[in-house]
């Protein structure tokens, strides 16, 4: 698609972000921002970090979903449907049990490591599937997710941490403050890295044989892809929580519109992923004002509807 469309989309995202900045219980307006130091504090300590977190998390989860779809060569997978997100939650729980006072950096690293292990387990299960019909793969992923999350919930019950775990892993941006979101910049860096090697992912998405023919180091790209997925999922779960379906619906919708050439689609995926999360967050803040509904709850509803649409709409020959 033409680059000026991308520009329009970018302007749209800026509009959404500005809207997000000025919604909330405290009436922050441009004039009070100028005159009232308290308002300025609210603005820079809560509103700006929150909006930046929304943008980064949305873009990164979209790209993580895309990479996972390319590496598994399957349209209907994404970190929260393949055990990755659930493994990250399990990792978070392990830290909460073993070292409750651990700094957030440690939590992040452990969660990412667990996410990596969970994703590798999923990849291993996929190799056991002889006939890779397009729906078997996500079905296995969802059940793996259910199993891992059952382990997590059981352990959380045992250690009486269910409520605090829930507070961590529900995708909720209301707790984002200055000093608590900065790790998300790392996620942004990984997203940029993914964009830098976008073509390798497209080639890997054509399958192992195509990739080797074109001289791609398949194992290395696989490893880099898994790292990006695991780091992004781990950090996002620690900082904001799970964002269900995001990594699935955004790349699929973009693919329907402009195809799968990753170099062209990643900017779109970032823009649309960010926009969707910002929109969900705005809805969540307005729908029963002054209370807040977590963005992940809104996303769960919107995401499931779009996923159903994608499933039913896919071409007949792919419905196997």
């Amino acid at each position: 698609m033409k680059s000026h469309y991308l520009l329009f989309a970018f302007i749209g995202l800026i509009g959404l972000s500005v809207t997000s900045l000025f919604i909330g219980v405290s009436q922050v307006t441009l004039t009070t921002l100028w005159s009232d130091p308290d308002m300025r504090d609210i603005f820079f300590i809560t509103r700006v970090p929150r909006t930046i977190a929304l943008l980064l998390a949305g873009a990164a989860m979209g790209v993580a979903g895309l990479i996972m779809q390319l590496l598994t060569q399957n349209r209907f997978v994404e970190p929260s449907l393949a055990g990755t997100t659930q493994s990250a939650s399990l990792g978070l729980l392990v830290v909460m049990v073993l070292a409750p006072a651990a700094p957030i950096m440690v939590k992040m690293v452990i969660a990412s490591l667990f996410a990596m292990v969970g994703t590798i387990l999923f990849m291993y299960l996929l190799r056991r599937i002889v006939l890779k019909s397009s729906l078997i793969v996500p079905l296995v992923g969802m059940m793996l997710s259910a199993v891992i999350s059952a382990i997590t919930v059981f352990a959380a019950m045992y250690f009486d941490l269910l409520q605090s775990l829930g507070a961590w892993v529900n995708g909720d941006f209301s707790g984002i403050l200055q000093g608590r979101y900065e790790l998300l910049w790392i996620v942004g860096v990984f997203t940029l890295l993914a964009y830098w090697i976008a073509d390798s992912f497209t080639v890997a998405g054509m399958g192992r044989e195509f990739a080797i023919n074109l001289g791609l180091n398949y194992r290395r790209v696989m490893f880099m892809g898994l790292t990006v997925i695991a780091m992004v999922s781990g950090i996002v779960i620690v900082v904001v929580g799970a964002l269900p379906f995001l990594g699935l619906i955004i790349p699929n919708l973009i693919s329907l519109m402009i195809g799968d050439n990753t170099r062209h689609t990643i900017p779109w995926i970032c823009l649309c992923g960010s926009s969707l999360v910002v929109i969900c967050d705005i809805i969540g803040r307005l729908i029963c004002y002054p209370f807040e509904i977590p963005a992940s709850v809104i996303l769960g509803v919107i995401g499931a509807i779009i996923f159903l649409f994608l499933l039913i709409k896919q071409p007949q020959h792919a419905k196997r």
């Binding site: 299960l125 793996l144 029963c288 209370f291 769960g300 499931a304």
Partner: protein, 327 residues
Amino acid sequence: MQNVNNTLEQKARSLLPTQRIALLGGFALLMMVIFMTINLGSNLTYILWHRGSILLTMLVVGFAASVSTVLFQSVTHNRILTPSIMGFEALFILIQTLIIFFCPITTQFWLFSLIKFSLETVLLVGFSVVLYRWLFALVHFNINMVLMVGIILGTLFRSASALLQRLLDPNEFSVLQSRIFATFTRAAPELIIMSLVIIVIISIIIWRKRYQFDVLSLGRNQAINLGVNYSQAVTTTLLLVSILVAISTALVGPLTFLGLIVANIAYLITGSHQHRYILPIAFLLSVIALVGGQLILEYGLNMAGSLSVVLEFIGGILFIYLILKRL
């Protein structure tokens, strides 16, 4: 030693289905007796009354989960689909939430809760028959597609309920939690009694149709060939299944994988494909799973509330195994 094992195995193989039912029945009874008598304290009447109501709830739920799953699988001619996995429970919870949302009356009067339950059940039956008939037609009974759409529909219903519950009460965590995990302690006595009545009626209907289900499990074409009105039979089954799911969900909440687990073990150990054997065995298995599981978790690990999570863990693994094995 080898010989002893062999003869034991041969004996097990040669057991008639009725003998197997008797054996499992004895075992289930033993579980129930232990459950009623273990660690009895001083306040005997209260404890017996309390445990009795839990036990009754488990019997009702076990019946609903096992029978609804076996029937559903016979009619859909496969062993992976279950009503819960297809989102029936989630749909029921959504209906419950919607009713609270649009008609937020709270009263302890027993007739009211019965009327509310009946209304919820009627709505579930209506919606599920329409929705799932549409789904089966839409995807031409492509099993993977049915599963996938069903699971996502379930997720959608759950997310929508979560959203509505948040809107009703933005700060309440416990509301959500009780909806996510099944608990066997909060069923109202009048609901249990009413469920028992319904279950007796349904049992009679199913028992009269037991041979028809044998034919249905041969698949659509064979069933039509043998003169069964297939379309009508599917509708009837969806209706029965919906009522059973409504009962189970209203009593304890979602128990996604119980039906899948007991039905698949039942196919394995019944030694017959006939519903008059499979249905009792599946029921006894679910009683053993629920009562035995509760015994182990409550008195072994001191974690009374975690049964549904453990079932989820086992069921998920079984599901992956079934998918991998099928291909």
